[in-house]
Every structure is written in C-alpha cells, then in structure tokens.
C-alpha cells in the first residue's frame, strides 16, 4: 500500500470543469446519464462519446486516468458482450461452432451496450475526477434536502459522509499499523486458501472496529464541545454560489438534450 493515501479519485486542477458548481455538475451528470439510456443509434452514441473525450481534454485529465477508470467495468463489459454475442439471434450468422452461433444482430447490440456503458462511466468519471469528495458530498447533501420532509435528516447525513471522508485516511493508517504489529508477532496474511486469508484478517478487523468506535465516541464529544447540535441551523464557510457560467453550462446541456431528443440522429 502506498504511503500517501489519495482520497477518492479527485485530480486537482484549475479548469472550467473543475471550477463548476458541484451541485450543477451532479445535476448535469444525472441529465446526461438519463439521456445516454434513451439513445438508440450508434451515431448519437458516438457523438456523446466524442463529447465526453472533448470534456476530458478540456479538464486536462491525462489519458491514463481514462483507461484506469474504465478498467473496473472491463469484466462487466466482457460479460455483456458474451451474453449478447451468443444469446441474441437475428441477422446473418457470422460464426458457427457446433450448435452455438454468433449472429450479426447480437454483435451489433452487444457492442452498442458496451459503448453505452463506456460513455456512462466516462461521464461519471469526469465528475469524480474534477470534484473534491467534500464538494461532492455537499452537492449530494443538497439534493437530499427535500427528503427532510419525509423524515430523512439530510444535513446530518451530509455531515456523516464528510466525517467519514475525514477518517478514511486515519483508519487506513491505523489498519496498516495494526497489520505491521500482527506481522511482527508472526501473523501471516499472504499464504493459504482464501478462507485462511479471510480468517487471518480477523485479528486485524476486531481491533480496528474497537478503535473506530472509540474514535467515534471521542469525536462526538469534541463536536458537541464545539457547539454542534443535531437539528440546529448551521451556515457554511464556503457558500455554494451558482455563477452565471454555471447556468450557461446547464442551459447548454439542456439544449443538447433537447436537440438529441427531438432529432434523435
């Protein structure tokens, strides 16, 4: 494990995309994701894929981050391809191995699904790469706010998420320390079956949990000592102002949606 722990996937930068209001970024992302699901033609999909790549260039994200971001969905993509290739019939038969056939319809649909998946991932990746986890949290907290009326404590949920972000590195450091302490006493985390390996993690996880609870207790006390009260009104140091440029971006995306939807390519 690396010494410095990178939180989330955030890649610091100063581009326009970095500086956009996080709330609007989330909203725009949701709109684009919905649209991607309604697209039916390759040309439309290709246009959006190109749009995504353009945005990546604009945000000055190195190409390898793109590849790294796509890696986790590789397995799902392959799985989808296999399913579509072998189980969708229609069109001309391309390959015949015994009773299994790959037909053109399946190939076309399979590739379409995979390309769409890639586009979905790329747009989401763009947002997580250009927004700090904290801004993302606050942005999501904003959209949770209406749920207050059905009894969800939105402010508190946002606070929980941001405190979790704060403690991820601390707990990771602690788990590494515990691991080293156990290794020094002859523990073995590397060899044996998966079952054995899982079992060897127990002496790691138990103290980690105990300490996490102790930390939570102390933190709650410290928060209370600094006038934190559940349900009380709070303000924020950095106001979440929506600038004209944010509105412009939103208007542009809505227009894009509209155009795509009406003309459908």
């Amino acid at each position: 494990m690396s010494r410095s722990i990178i939180l989330g996937q955030y890649l610091p930068g100063e581009s326009l995309i970095h500086r956009l209001n996080p709330r609007l970024k989330i909203l725009t992302l949701v709109l684009i994701l919905i649209l991607l699901f309604t697209l039916e033609t390759y040309s439309a999909l290709a246009a959006f894929l190109a749009f995504a790549l353009l945005l990546f260039a604009l945000a000055k994200v190195p190409f390898r981050y793109l590849l790294r971001g796509l890696r986790p969905v590789l397995f799902i993509a392959l799985f989808a391809l296999v399913i579509y290739f072998f189980f969708t019939s229609g069109g001309i038969v391309l390959v015949r191995i015994g009773f299994i056939t790959v037909e053109s319809e399946g190939v076309i649909e399979g590739l379409f699904i995979v390309t769409r998946l890639a586009a979905l991932v790329l747009f989401s990746l763009l947002v997580t790469l250009t927004t700090t986890p904290l801004s993302l949290t606050h942005g999501m907290g904003y959209f949770l706010k209406p749920l207050r009326y059905v009894g969800l404590p939105a402010e508190e949920v946002a606070m929980i998420m941001s405190v979790s972000l704060r403690f991820i590195p601390t707990l990771m450091e602690e788990s590494q320390r515990l691991m080293r302490a156990q290794l020094a006493r002859g523990a073995d985390f590397e060899t044996g079956s998966i079952f054995r390996k899982a079992r060897s993690l127990v002496p790691l996880i138990v103290p980690l949990f105990v300490s996490a609870f102790r930390r939570a207790d102390e933190l709650a006390l410290a928060m209370e000592a600094r006038c934190y009260r559940i349900g009380a009104k709070r303000t924020r140091m950095h106001e979440d102002v929506i600038l004209p440029r944010d509105w412009a971006v939103l208007a542009f995306v809505i227009m894009l949606l509209f155009v795509t939807y009406t003309f459908g390519f």
């Binding site: 904290l134 601390t170 102390e218 006390l221 209370e224 000592a225 600094r226 303000t235 140091m237 106001e239």
Partner: protein, 286 residues
C-alpha cells in the same frame, strides 16, 4: 452578568458521580468549589482517576453536575438553551489530536464551531483567516488533517476554539500524545494567548514542568480538591506530591536531592533556570 471578581468559571459545591458503577469506590467529584478568574492560568493536577477530566467536562457543559452548580460567565451550565453561549465562552481541547478534528481540511475544521454558531460566511472566513495568521497556520489551511504532525493538529484544534472568541480554554492533557517539539510549540502557543489576549486557561496535565508556568495550581485527589496555591507553594511541596504518587518539576526534585547532600539552596526553586543560577551562586561563594 460578569460577577464581582470577574470570574469566568465558578464551581459551587459541585458533586458528580458516574451512574451505573454500582458499589463505587468514590464519587467522581464531591464538594468542589473553584473559581477561575479572567485571564488566569490554572493548572489542574492529580493522580489518574482523581476527577480532573470530569471537572473540565463539567466546565464545558459536556456533563452537568448532580449537586451544586457551575456558572460560566454567570450562566448556569444546566440550562439547555444557553449551552452554545457556555461552550463558546469555554472552549475545550482534548488529548487525542486525531479524534477532535472534524473536517477534511484545516480551514474547514477551524470554521466548524463558527458554522455551528450559524455565523455569516464572510464573518467565518474573516475569523478563520485571522486565527490562522495568529497561530502561523496559514500555509496549512488547505491541507487535510491526516498530513499534519501531532503538534500541528493540536494547534488546529486550538485555532478552532480560538475562532469562537472564548474567554477561557480548557485543555485536557493536550500534549500527552505529542513529541517534545510539538509539546513545546503547543505550550508556547497557549501561554502566549493567555498573556497577550488575556484568555483564561484551565490546563489538566501530568507534566509538572508544564504546570510550573501556571498562575495557580489546583490539586485533585479522589474527587476532592486537596490543595490549591501558587506553583512556588504547591509544586515545591514534594512530600504532598509524592504522597499522591505525583512528581515535582525536575528542578524541584533535583534541588531536594542537593539539599539532602547538604547544599544550601533557597527554598522556592521551581524552574531549571533558577536551579542553575542558585548552584552557580553557591560555587561563587565558595
């Protein structure tokens, strides 16, 4: 509102015991009377389990007394509505620097208390900036807390309390988990705030050298206030300290050994410097 002696904190005949302990050996605190005056530096010492931390938590209204009352700037801590006022006037620094920082960046953490007081954002930014300047934390404002040293974390915690413009800072062994350099830095910071800004300090500590810089020493044992007085009186009373399994400052202990060996040293040596000066003047006499 501020009473006659300009007291920041007043404990009047305070009792506290932790519930659920069944046949408790002793109540956590009993019959405590203590006043902390404006701008005063009070060191609270005593063996483990003597009630030091409990008393601090009572001052900050994290606990409320079962008997007697605590007044912070004349406001009772028992009143739910005035809790923010009490906690703003009496900020608290805890022992573990890791477990009291809430936010993912230093500036957001300093702002946390102010956000809880629902101050306007511009005012919050101004105060965070001011406090960061004062404590020399400006370069760290954008850093996540886990990249800071222990001493820096404690200073951020102090900054968070200071931003709320308190009249008193309560510190529960703030240097116990720090290295010597961090310890010195934190102590210097707090002493400076006490001297220049007149902020009262109540400092729970196990380090007699830290306590030696206080205006007044308060000794607790088994939940009772045993003795209080100037460092010169209390910290030089080695028989009392040793009986409580406490130690005097190094200079006091050393001076006592030298006296046993027949050296004539003045009775009220507290700091290393004083000891060195007395020893040197001895030699010159010979």
């Amino acid at each position: 509102m501020v009473s006659r002696s300009a007291a920041i904190v007043e404990a009047k005949n305070v009792d506290y015991y932790y519930p659920g302990e069944g046949e408790t050996v002793w109540p956590a605190l009993s019959g405590i009377n203590l006043t902390v005056a404006q701008g005063e530096y009070v060191a609270l010492i005593g063996p483990n389990g003597s009630g030091k931390t409990t008393l601090l938590k009572l001052f900050n209204a994290l606990l409320t007394p079962f008997g007697g009352e605590i007044l912070v700037q004349g406001i009772s801590t028992a009143n739910e509505e005035t809790l923010p006022a009490v906690r703003q006037a009496c900020g608290m620094i805890f022992q573990n620097p890791d477990n009291q920082l809430v936010a993912t960046t230093v500036e957001e953490d300093i702002a946390f208390g102010l956000e809880n007081l629902a101050l306007p954002p511009a005012e919050i930014r101004r105060r965070v900036e001011d406090v960061a300047c004062l404590l020399g934390l400006r370069k760290l404002l954008r850093q996540p807390p886990h990249l800071l040293s222990g001493g820096e974390k404690q200073k951020v915690a102090i900054a968070g309390v200071l931003a709320m413009e308190p009249r008193c800072i309560l510190m529960d062994e703030p240097t116990a988990m720090l290295d010597p350099a961090g310890r010195q830095d934190v102590i210097d910071t707090v002493r400076d705030l006490n001297k220049r800004q007149g902020i009262a300090v109540v400092h729970v500590t196990h380090f007699p050298e830290e306590a030696a810089w206080a205006d007044r020493i308060v000794v607790l044992n088994e939940g009772q206030l045993i003795v209080q007085g100037s460092p010169e009186d209390v910290l030089t009373d080695l028989s009392l300290l040793h009986e409580l399994k406490l130690q005097g400052p190094a200079a006091v202990e050393l001076a006592a050994l030298l006296r046993e060996d027949g050296y004539r040293l003045p009775p009220q040596i507290l700091h290393n410097r004083e000891l060195v000066d007395s020893i040197c003047s001895l030699e010159r006499k010979n």
